[in-house]
Amino acid sequence: METKNAAVTRKKERRSELYRKLGPLIALIVLMLIVTVLNVNFIRPANLLNLLRQVSVNALIAFGMTFVIITGGIDLSVGSTLALSSALTAGIIAIGVPPVLAIVSGLLIGAFLGMINGLLITKGNVAPFIGTLATMTIYRGLTLVYTEGNPITGFGGGFAFQFFGRGYLFGIPFPVIITTAAFIILFVILHKMTFGRKTFAIGGNEQAAYIAGIKSDRVKTMVYAISGMMSALAGLILTSRLNSAQPTAGTAYELDAIAAVVIGGTSLAGGKGRIVGTLIGALIIGTLNNGLNLLGVSSFYQQVVRGVVIIIAVLLDRKK
């Protein structure tokens, strides 16, 4: 009896688990179908590639955010980190550093800015919401100070840097390739490596994880560094695409990234989540933006629709 019961529970659990995993995916497919029916242009390969390229910036930021949220934290500074690291990278290229080196420096700058968040939160014991709220303001301020409020343009960077955001490889936009690579690497780290396990454990019960010998301060600091680095990567793509580092770039991007993560089924309470879900979440948001534009919905109504879709997606996920 007990075992029969257990088997039933097990089966049910698996099924609900499956729903939970498939929920966002089904939502995405339905959304894509609707848009296609309303405007067949949507499904054309050119538009889909365009869509993917548009999604890449938010997706990259949201990947990093997934780690942060799984630890039970939040990173509001991603947009400002994006802007500051982009501006500094543009500055670095402008003084003649080879573009590949500059890109690497840009990523390291992002990781460093993220690390500051991590240290504030772990060593300073500041709540993630308020700590990254503060650095969001600070990094934005520093960006404006550094750029004097002007976009940095004409900094050069040659083919390599231009290719970064604007290139194509086998007909696929390079940012899409970067995003795919980042996804695979982060997927492996989160779901196949001990670092990911530790990330989940901290979000599940930090005290228990700490006592089990997990260096939670170090893991958290690294997680914020990952988030910073992903923001920087997104920033570099944007900078390359726009051929310009904008001081106001990334404003309010944290909201889209958080929405992607949550729509993807990661819990804001920490301890639970999947990076595949985040990818799907980012695609849902991207499809929505792209689709609503294609359908000629006014940008005012777009906001309403976007909010409603976020709620529906989250409610669907609740219902399993």
Binding site: N41, R166, R241, T248, N293, S299
Partner: protein, 290 residues
């Protein structure tokens, strides 16, 4: 019980002041746009040259922040206020408080709907919009499919440029799409990318400022639509460089720096007892590759 702005300030004669004794209060709508950075620089440099002091505040595109900032300037006892409003309506009460504190006001780039203003310095945005439309017609002919990228909804520049553009375009062009990209470059990029998906035959784009035009340019180039005519507005450095490089077709150049210096000159005129025109036009110029 009284109302702010009720007590009218000293309406008497203008007290003459030497340049060195003048403190100018400057309220800018946002410094996150190079256009206004130039404007501020125009004011500051012209004032410094003559030994005046400038205190400036940045509204960060928020109307409430702007009136707070202006209050703070009034508290510091500035002699005159140069205001670049975020919004032409919402600025009225701030101008009324300045009036009641007896501080004269000059508005720059965007007007005020109410309160007493010494003068208003701006380019003629309606005319600028018309110039852009005429330029496009010259290049692609009448009835071509065109797209307009609009600025921040509700800003006077958006409304006026749109009005001017449509004045001409209504009868002579086919505007297939007109969407807001908030005067912002990255939004210009995405909005344009999306428009391209539905309209592959467009021949020209009018962006209500250069930032959006530059974003649109990247989108068009990525789609291989390099022969689409793109016209911006402002004449900022990046835009001029792109015109030089032959990628951007034209921009309706405003001269924000000059607007700043004109404003400061007007201040000196005022404090030396000169008469001031109700409106002062800043020069507009269409800059294109030729």
């Amino acid at each position: 019980a009284t109302l702010e702005g009720d007590q009218s300030g000293d309406d008497g004669e203008v007290e003459e002041l030497a340049a060195e004794d003048i403190t100018i209060g400057l309220s800018i709508s946002t410094l996150n746009n190079p256009f206004f950075g130039d404007l501020q620089r125009g004011v500051v440099e012209a004032a410094e040259e003559n030994g005046s002091t400038v205190r400036s505040v940045d509204a960060q595109d928020d109307t409430a922040t702007q009136i707070n900032g202006i209050d703070d300037l009034i508290q510091q006892g500035v002699d005159i206020l140069l205001i670049n409003p975020v919004d032409s309506d919402a600025i009225t009460p701030a101008i009324e408080s300045a009036n009641s504190a007896g501080i004269p006001v000059i508005t720059i780039d965007r007007s005020s709907e109410g309160g007493d203003v010494l003068t208003f310095i701006a380019s003629d945005n309606v005319e600028g919009g018309e110039m852009a439309a005429e330029f496009i017609i010259d290049l692609v002919g009448e009835d071509a499919d065109v797209v307009q990228l609009e600025g921040v909804p509700g800003a006077s520049a958006t409304n006026e440029r749109g009005e001017g553009f449509m004045n001409v375009a209504n009868d002579r062009l086919n505007v297939v799409e007109s969407q807001s990209a908030n005067f912002n470059r990255s939004e210009g990029l995405t909005v344009m990318e999306n428009i391209i998906q539905s309209y592959s035959d467009i021949e020209a784009v009018f962006a209500q400022n250069d930032e959006m035009a530059l974003g649109a340019l990247e989108a068009l180039e990525a789609a291989g639509m390099t022969d689409v005519i793109v016209v911006g507005f402002d004449g900022n450095d990046d835009a001029l460089a792109e015109i030089e490089a032959g990628r951007l077709d034209a921009t309706i150049a405003q001269q924000p720096y000059e607007m700043g210096t004109i404003a400061v000159d007007t201040v000196y005129d005022y404090f030396s007892g000169g008469t001031i025109d109700e409106e002062i036009g800043a020069p507009l110029e269409l800059i294109s590759a030729e």
